[in-house]
Assembly symmetry: C2
Homo-oligomer: 114 residues x 2
Amino acid sequence: MATRETGNLFAKLTPPTPDERFETLLQRDGLTLERIVSHGQATPDGEWYDQPRAEWVVLLKGAAGLRFEDEVEIRQLRPGDHVLIPAHARHRVEWTSESEPTVWLALHVPESQN
Amino acid sequence: MATRETGNLFAKLTPPTPDERFETLLQRDGLTLERIVSHGQATPDGEWYDQPRAEWVVLLKGAAGLRFEDEVEIRQLRPGDHVLIPAHARHRVEWTSESEPTVWLALHVPESQN
Protein backbone atom coordinates (compact mmCIF):
# COMPACT_ATOMS: atom_id res chain seq x y z
CA MET A 1 0.00 0.00 0.00
CA ALA A 2 1.11 3.56 -0.54
CA THR A 3 2.11 5.39 2.60
CA ARG A 4 -0.71 7.65 3.62
CA GLU A 5 -1.25 9.66 6.76
CA THR A 6 -3.61 7.65 8.91
CA GLY A 7 -4.44 7.16 12.57
CA ASN A 8 -7.22 6.54 15.04
CA LEU A 9 -8.69 9.26 17.24
CA PHE A 10 -9.45 6.79 20.00
CA ALA A 11 -6.02 5.20 20.15
CA LYS A 12 -3.64 5.66 23.06
CA LEU A 13 -6.13 7.26 25.42
CA THR A 14 -4.67 5.74 28.55
CA PRO A 15 -3.03 6.00 30.98
CA PRO A 16 -4.25 9.40 32.19
CA THR A 17 -1.54 12.05 32.01
CA PRO A 18 -1.09 15.02 34.37
CA ASP A 19 -1.61 17.47 31.51
CA GLU A 20 -4.01 17.49 28.58
CA ARG A 21 -2.46 16.03 25.45
CA PHE A 22 -2.50 18.00 22.19
CA GLU A 23 -1.63 16.29 18.90
CA THR A 24 -1.61 18.09 15.59
CA LEU A 25 -3.32 16.05 12.88
CA LEU A 26 -3.17 18.53 10.03
CA GLN A 27 -1.62 21.95 9.57
CA ARG A 28 -1.68 24.10 6.46
CA ASP A 29 -2.41 27.63 5.32
CA GLY A 30 -3.34 28.96 8.74
CA LEU A 31 -5.50 25.96 9.59
CA THR A 32 -4.70 23.59 12.45
CA LEU A 33 -6.58 20.39 13.21
CA GLU A 34 -5.77 18.76 16.51
CA ARG A 35 -6.83 16.00 18.84
CA ILE A 36 -7.01 16.87 22.50
CA VAL A 37 -7.26 14.25 25.22
CA SER A 38 -8.36 15.39 28.66
CA HIS A 39 -8.80 13.35 31.80
CA GLY A 40 -10.22 15.47 34.56
CA GLN A 41 -8.34 18.63 33.64
CA ALA A 42 -9.97 22.04 33.46
CA THR A 43 -8.83 25.52 32.52
CA PRO A 44 -7.11 26.96 35.62
CA ASP A 45 -9.34 29.10 37.85
CA GLY A 46 -9.79 32.60 36.56
CA GLU A 47 -8.17 31.88 33.20
CA TRP A 48 -9.84 32.22 29.82
CA TYR A 49 -8.90 31.16 26.34
CA ASP A 50 -8.80 34.17 24.02
CA GLN A 51 -7.76 32.90 20.60
CA PRO A 52 -6.93 34.86 17.45
CA ARG A 53 -8.54 32.21 15.25
CA ALA A 54 -12.05 30.75 15.23
CA GLU A 55 -12.27 27.22 16.63
CA TRP A 56 -14.75 24.56 15.61
CA VAL A 57 -14.61 21.95 18.32
CA VAL A 58 -16.40 18.65 18.80
CA LEU A 59 -16.38 16.39 21.84
CA LEU A 60 -16.18 12.79 20.61
CA LYS A 61 -15.89 10.80 23.81
CA GLY A 62 -16.25 11.55 27.50
CA ALA A 63 -17.92 14.68 28.81
CA ALA A 64 -17.03 18.28 29.58
CA GLY A 65 -18.37 21.63 30.66
CA LEU A 66 -17.64 24.61 28.41
CA ARG A 67 -18.28 28.16 29.50
CA PHE A 68 -18.26 31.38 27.53
CA GLU A 69 -17.51 34.55 29.45
CA ASP A 70 -20.66 36.18 28.09
CA GLU A 71 -22.88 33.33 29.24
CA VAL A 72 -24.05 32.42 32.71
CA GLU A 73 -24.65 28.74 32.19
CA ILE A 74 -22.02 26.11 31.60
CA ARG A 75 -22.64 24.17 28.39
CA GLN A 76 -22.69 20.45 29.12
CA LEU A 77 -21.04 18.66 26.20
CA ARG A 78 -21.71 15.03 25.35
CA PRO A 79 -20.30 12.89 22.52
CA GLY A 80 -21.03 14.45 19.15
CA ASP A 81 -21.70 17.94 20.49
CA HIS A 82 -19.92 20.61 18.48
CA VAL A 83 -19.58 24.34 18.97
CA LEU A 84 -18.15 27.09 16.81
CA ILE A 85 -16.10 29.43 18.99
CA PRO A 86 -15.54 32.76 17.23
CA ALA A 87 -12.11 34.35 17.38
CA HIS A 88 -11.61 36.18 20.67
CA ALA A 89 -14.77 34.72 22.22
CA ARG A 90 -13.41 34.20 25.71
CA HIS A 91 -14.16 30.73 26.99
CA ARG A 92 -12.91 28.09 29.39
CA VAL A 93 -13.29 24.40 30.07
CA GLU A 94 -14.90 24.19 33.49
CA TRP A 95 -14.47 20.46 33.86
CA THR A 96 -13.81 17.22 32.00
CA SER A 97 -14.78 13.71 33.02
CA GLU A 98 -12.57 12.13 35.66
CA SER A 99 -13.91 8.63 35.06
CA GLU A 100 -12.87 8.30 31.41
CA PRO A 101 -10.77 10.11 28.82
CA THR A 102 -12.43 12.98 26.98
CA VAL A 103 -11.50 13.23 23.31
CA TRP A 104 -11.88 16.49 21.42
CA LEU A 105 -11.26 17.32 17.81
CA ALA A 106 -10.51 21.00 17.32
CA LEU A 107 -10.21 22.84 14.04
CA HIS A 108 -8.63 26.29 14.26
CA VAL A 109 -9.22 28.50 11.25
CA PRO A 110 -8.49 32.11 10.40
CA GLU A 111 -11.52 34.38 10.57
CA SER A 112 -13.07 34.59 7.14
CA GLN A 113 -11.55 37.17 4.83
CA ASN A 114 -14.81 37.38 2.87
CA MET B 1 -27.24 32.49 26.22
CA ALA B 2 -25.72 34.04 23.14
CA THR B 3 -26.65 32.37 19.91
CA ARG B 4 -23.77 30.19 18.80
CA GLU B 5 -23.52 27.63 16.07
CA THR B 6 -23.91 24.26 17.73
CA GLY B 7 -25.14 20.78 16.90
CA ASN B 8 -24.53 17.10 17.46
CA LEU B 9 -22.81 14.84 14.93
CA PHE B 10 -24.84 11.85 16.05
CA ALA B 11 -28.25 13.53 15.85
CA LYS B 12 -30.84 12.61 13.24
CA LEU B 13 -29.13 9.48 11.96
CA THR B 14 -32.32 7.60 11.25
CA PRO B 15 -34.33 6.63 9.33
CA PRO B 16 -32.00 5.43 6.58
CA THR B 17 -32.29 7.50 3.41
CA PRO B 18 -31.85 6.27 -0.17
CA ASP B 19 -28.90 8.58 -0.70
CA GLU B 20 -26.01 9.55 1.52
CA ARG B 21 -26.64 12.77 3.40
CA PHE B 22 -24.14 15.62 3.26
CA GLU B 23 -24.39 18.53 5.67
CA THR B 24 -22.00 21.46 5.64
CA LEU B 25 -20.87 22.37 9.15
CA LEU B 26 -18.37 25.08 8.32
CA GLN B 27 -17.30 26.82 5.16
CA ARG B 28 -14.74 29.57 4.80
CA ASP B 29 -11.72 30.55 2.72
CA GLY B 30 -11.67 27.43 0.59
CA LEU B 31 -12.24 25.09 3.52
CA THR B 32 -15.34 22.93 3.86
CA LEU B 33 -16.19 20.80 6.86
CA GLU B 34 -19.06 18.40 6.42
CA ARG B 35 -20.86 15.54 8.07
CA ILE B 36 -21.72 12.60 5.88
CA VAL B 37 -24.20 9.93 6.90
CA SER B 38 -24.17 6.68 4.95
CA HIS B 39 -26.33 3.63 5.41
CA GLY B 40 -25.25 0.86 3.09
CA GLN B 41 -24.35 3.12 0.18
CA ALA B 42 -21.15 2.77 -1.81
CA THR B 43 -19.55 4.66 -4.67
CA PRO B 44 -21.20 3.35 -7.85
CA ASP B 45 -19.31 0.56 -9.61
CA GLY B 46 -16.41 1.80 -11.69
CA GLU B 47 -16.61 5.35 -10.34
CA TRP B 48 -13.84 7.15 -8.46
CA TYR B 49 -13.69 10.35 -6.49
CA ASP B 50 -11.08 12.69 -7.96
CA GLN B 51 -11.14 15.86 -5.92
CA PRO B 52 -9.31 19.14 -6.45
CA ARG B 53 -8.81 19.61 -2.71
CA ALA B 54 -7.17 17.39 -0.11
CA GLU B 55 -9.62 15.68 2.24
CA TRP B 56 -9.00 14.71 5.82
CA VAL B 57 -11.74 12.27 6.71
CA VAL B 58 -12.58 10.38 9.89
CA LEU B 59 -15.14 7.64 10.39
CA LEU B 60 -16.86 8.26 13.72
CA LYS B 61 -19.54 5.59 13.83
CA GLY B 62 -20.37 2.50 11.78
CA ALA B 63 -17.91 0.91 9.38
CA ALA B 64 -16.78 1.30 5.79
CA GLY B 65 -14.34 0.10 3.18
CA LEU B 66 -12.19 2.73 1.47
CA ARG B 67 -10.12 1.96 -1.59
CA PHE B 68 -7.46 3.99 -3.34
CA GLU B 69 -6.93 3.32 -7.02
CA ASP B 70 -3.21 2.81 -6.45
CA GLU B 71 -3.79 0.22 -3.74
CA VAL B 72 -4.92 -3.38 -4.03
CA GLU B 73 -6.41 -3.80 -0.60
CA ILE B 74 -9.54 -2.16 0.69
CA ARG B 75 -8.91 -0.21 3.89
CA GLN B 76 -11.35 -1.32 6.58
CA LEU B 77 -12.33 1.75 8.59
CA ARG B 78 -13.61 1.56 12.14
CA PRO B 79 -14.70 4.35 14.51
CA GLY B 80 -11.91 6.87 15.01
CA ASP B 81 -9.96 5.85 11.89
CA HIS B 82 -8.83 8.86 9.88
CA VAL B 83 -7.11 9.16 6.53
CA LEU B 84 -5.63 12.11 4.68
CA ILE B 85 -6.62 11.86 1.01
CA PRO B 86 -4.35 14.04 -1.14
CA ALA B 87 -5.92 16.12 -3.90
CA HIS B 88 -6.56 14.01 -6.99
CA ALA B 89 -5.82 10.74 -5.18
CA ARG B 90 -8.50 8.66 -6.81
CA HIS B 91 -10.50 6.71 -4.27
CA ARG B 92 -13.90 5.16 -3.69
CA VAL B 93 -16.06 3.90 -0.88
CA GLU B 94 -16.45 0.18 -1.51
CA TRP B 95 -19.07 -0.38 1.15
CA THR B 96 -20.65 1.07 4.27
CA SER B 97 -22.42 -0.77 7.07
CA GLU B 98 -25.97 -1.82 6.29
CA SER B 99 -26.82 -2.59 9.91
CA GLU B 100 -26.25 0.88 11.33
CA PRO B 101 -25.59 4.43 10.14
CA THR B 102 -22.02 5.34 9.30
CA VAL B 103 -21.02 8.86 10.29
CA TRP B 104 -18.09 10.60 8.63
CA LEU B 105 -16.55 13.97 9.28
CA ALA B 106 -14.76 15.30 6.20
CA LEU B 107 -12.54 18.36 6.01
CA HIS B 108 -11.76 19.57 2.50
CA VAL B 109 -8.83 21.94 2.27
CA PRO B 110 -6.89 23.54 -0.55
CA GLU B 111 -3.53 21.94 -1.21
CA SER B 112 -0.91 23.83 0.76
CA GLN B 113 0.48 26.94 -0.91
CA ASN B 114 3.65 26.67 1.13
